[in-house]
C-alpha cells in the first residue's frame, strides 16, 4: 500500500507518477516524461537552500561590518566610515536617536535575522513541536522586516548620486556597502526560501498517521 500511496506531479509537464519508496543516498527523482526534477514534500530542499543562503549572509556580514560603507567628505576633509563608526559619529554629534536607528537597523536587525532564521531551521530539522504558533509569528516578522534593512543601502546609493560637489562635499560608496547589501538580499532570500509549513510538517505527519 505504501508503495503506491505517494503520487507525484511534475510541475513542468503535469505528468503524474508513482514516487519511488526506496531512494538511496544521492538518488533523486525525475519526471519520467519531461525529465524535470520532482520531489516529495519531505524531500523539499528548502532547508538546505535556506542554510546555504544564511551561511553566505553570515560570511558577508563580516566584511559588511569591517569595511567602510560610505565616505563623506566636507570641505576636503572626511573619512570612510564603517557602520559602527558612522553610528559612533552620530552619537558624538549628539544625534543619539539617529545613532540608535542606524545601530538597530544596520547591525542588530541583520544579526537578529541571521539568528532567528538559524533558530527556525534548527527547530525544523529537530522536528520540534515547541510553540509552533510563536515560531510562525517569528518567521512572519522576520520576513516582513527583511526588506527594511535595505533602507541603508538606498540611502548610500542616493547620497552618492546626489552629493557630488567635488571638494565642497562628496559622498562615496565603499565596498562595505556592497557586502552589506548582499547580506540584506541573502537574508531576504533565505527568509523567502524557508518553507513555513515545514514548521507544521511534524504535526501534519502525525495527524495523517493517526
Amino acid at each position: 500500500m505504501a508503495e503506491h500511496d505517494a503520487l507525484l506531479q511534475c510541475r513542468v509537464c503535469g505528468c503524474l507518477s508513482h514516487a519511488s519508496t526506496q531512494l538511496k543516498r544521492f538518488e533523486v527523482m525525475h519526471c519520467p516524461r519531461c525529465g524535470a526534477r520532482v520531489k516529495l514534500a519531505q524531500q523539499s530542499n528548502s532547508v538546505e537552500v535556506t542554510w546555504a543562503l544564511l551561511i553566505a549572509a553570515a560570511i558577508l556580514y563580516i566584511p559588511a561590518n569591517m569595511l567602510p560603507i560610505m565616505s563623506v567628505y566636507m570641505l576636503g576633509a572626511g573619512q570612510p566610515d564603517t557602520i559602527i563608526t558612522g553610528a559612533y559619529h552620530l552619537l558624538e554629534a549628539g544625534q543619539w536617536p539617529l545613532a540608535l536607528i542606524v545601530f538597530v537597523a544596520s547591525i542588530v536587525v541583520p544579526l537578529l535575522k541571521l539568528f532567528t532564521l538559524s533558530f527556525l531551521l534548527i527547530s525544523i530539522q529537530r522536528r520540534s513541536r515547541w510553540r509552533q504558533h510563536d515560531r510562525m509569528r517569528l518567521y512572519r516578522i522576520t520576513e516582513y522586516v527583511g526588506r527594511w534593512s535595505m533602507v541603508d543601502v538606498f540611502v548610500i546609493a542616493i547620497l552618492t548620486g546626489l552629493v557630488q560637489f567635488g571638494n565642497l562635499a562628496r559622498v562615496d560608496a565603499n565596498l562595505g556597502s556592497l557586502s552589506f547589501a548582499a547580506v540584506v538580499v541573502l537574508t531576504m532570500f533565505a527568509a523567502r526560501t524557508l518553507d513555513e509549513h515545514l514548521i507544521w510538517d511534524i504535526t501534519r505527519q502525525e495527524e495523517s498517521h493517526t
Binding site: 503506491h4 503520487l7 507525484l8 505528468c15 503524474l16 507518477s17 508513482h18 514516487a19 519511488s20 531512494l23 544521492f26 538518488e27 533523486v28 527523482m29 525525475h30 519526471c31 519520467p32 516524461r33 525529465g35 520532482v38 530542499n45 538546505e48 537552500v49 546555504a52 543562503l53 551561511i55 553566505a56 549572509a57 560570511i59 558577508l60 563580516i62 566584511p63 569591517m66 569595511l67 566636507m74 570641505l75 576636503g76 576633509a77 572626511g78 573619512q79 565642497l168 562635499a169 565596498l175 557586502s179 548582499a182 541573502l186
Partner: protein
Amino acid sequence: MNDNKGLDDNLPEVEVREQRWPSPVWLIPLAALLISFWLLFQAWYQRGPIVTVQFSSAEGIEPGKTEVRYKAVTVGKVKKLKLDNELKYIEAIIELNKEIGRHLGSDASFWVVRPRVNRSGVSGLGTLFSGSYIGMDPGTDNDDQSFYKGAERPPVIAPAEDGKRFFLISDSLGSMDVGAPVFYKQLQVGEVIDYELLDNQDRVQLELFIRAPYFQYVHENTRFWNASGVELNMNSTGAEFRMESLISVLIGGVAFETPAGVAGGEVSKQGDTFVLHRNYASSQEKQYATRLYYVMYFDGSVRGMGVGSAVEFQGIPIGKVEKIDLKMDKDSLAVRVPVLVSIQPQYFDESLTKETGEIAMRKLVEKGMRAKLDTVSFLTGQKVITLSMETDPPPATIKATQFYSEFPTTGTAFEELPFIATDIMISLDETLAGINKLVNSGKLDKTVDNLNKVLAEAEQAVKAAKETLKTVDKDTLPSVTNDVNKISQDLSNTMQKIQGSMGQLDRLTAQNSPTQHQLQEMLEEVTAASRALRSLTETLQRQPSALLRGK
C-alpha cells in the same frame, strides 16, 4: 477510489537518477566566502604602515581628520593622538597609504602645516579651509621605522630642489625667520632654511638655500646683508633710503651682491660660511679681516658720535667706533670717556697683517699721527674721528694698557677756539682791572708822572693784549673779538635749529609717535582680520549649511 486505482496503475514509475553533487545553492555561500576573503584581504593588503610621530603640540591636529600629505596628495591620516609618558610631547598615530609605506625610510620627516606668512606672501592658505595637515617627506633610504620625531616647521625646500646651501654668521637673528627670502638684485633666489645659536659664540648661524642657477653668483667675496626693514641713512653726503622689498620689510630677508670693483673670486662651494652684514651700507665697506683695537680719550664732548661712527684718514674711512663708555677714576674722581675704535690697517697697505699693522701704526704715531674729533655736518652734528699727521705735535706713543692700547689724541681747531677766546678775555680783563685799580687808587690826580705811568701801563697792557691776540692769527687781529662774539651768536642759532630738527626726527621715531602707532594699528588689524577668517572657516567646517542659511 477505484478510478483512481485504475488510473494509478497506468501511471509510470518515477525515474530515479543518481546525483552525487550537492545542491548548486551551496555555490552561493562559497562565492560569499571567496568574496569576503578577497575583500578583507584587499583591505588588509592596502593598509599601509602605522607610524607614531612625536610633536610638541597638537595644535591643529585632529584625530581621524588631519591628513598626511606628500606633494599635496593625501597619503595618510592621523588615527589617534596621545600624550607621551612624560607629558612632554604628543604622539600622533598615523596610518599611511600602502604606496607611501613602500617608500618610507628612516630619514622620513613629518611636519605640521599651518597657515603662515612666508616668502610668497601667505603659505598654507588652503589650511584655513581644510584645517592643518601634516606634511611628509618619505626620505630616501628604505629602512622601515615606526617612530619619528615631527618638526614644527615645514622644510622650506622641496627635497628634490637643486641648489646650494650656505651659512651666514650674524650677531643676532633680527626679524629673520625660516622661509625669509634671499634676494639677488631684488630677485628672490632662495630662502633661509634654518637658524641656530652657535654654542661657543654669542652669534647666530643662518642656513641659506640658494636655488639653481643663482648659486653661481655667490662668490668668495660676495657680501650678504640683512635686507630686513628700511634703511635710512643721513650723513654728510645726504639722506639715503633703501628697501629690498615689502615682504622683506615684514618678515625679514637677506640680500647678496658682489661689490663692484671687487674681484669675485671663485664660485663658492656648498656649505661655505659668510658674514651677514647689518645693512647694505656696511656690506659695501671694504672688508679686511685685520682689525686693530685702540682706545681714545677726547677732552671735549663726544656728542654727535656713536657706535659705528667712522674713523677717517684724509676723508677715507679706515675704521669705526666700536664702543663709547664712561669711566671714573675712584681716587681722583676724574671722569673720562674712553672711545674704543677698530682700525683696519690694510686700508693703508693690503699686505699688512695684525703684527706688522700694529708696528706701522706705532711708527705713524711717532711721526705725528693723532686722532681728533671732527664735525662732519653742522646739520646733524655728526662727528667722526680723524687721524691726521700733526705738524710738530708733543711727542706721544701708543700706550699699551690692560685691555686696549691707547691712541694719542689732540684737540681740534674748532675745539681750541673757545679756549683762545677765553684767554684773550682773561688778559683783557686783567688789563682793565689794572686800569681800574689805578684810577681808584687816587694816584691819577696826584701827579702827571703818575698819568704817564698809567699811560705807559695801559700801553703795556694793550701791547700784552696784542701779543696774546697775535698768537691766534696775525691777520684776524683787529676783528677777532667781534668775530668771536659773532661766531658764538651764529653757533647758538645754528644749534637751536639743529635741536629743532632733531626734535622732529625724535618725535617721528619715538616709541609713542603716530607713525609707530599707525604701524602697530595696521598690524593689529591684520591679525584681527585673519582671526575672523579663521573663525569663519571653523564655523563653515562645523556647519557648512551656514553658508546658505547663515549662522
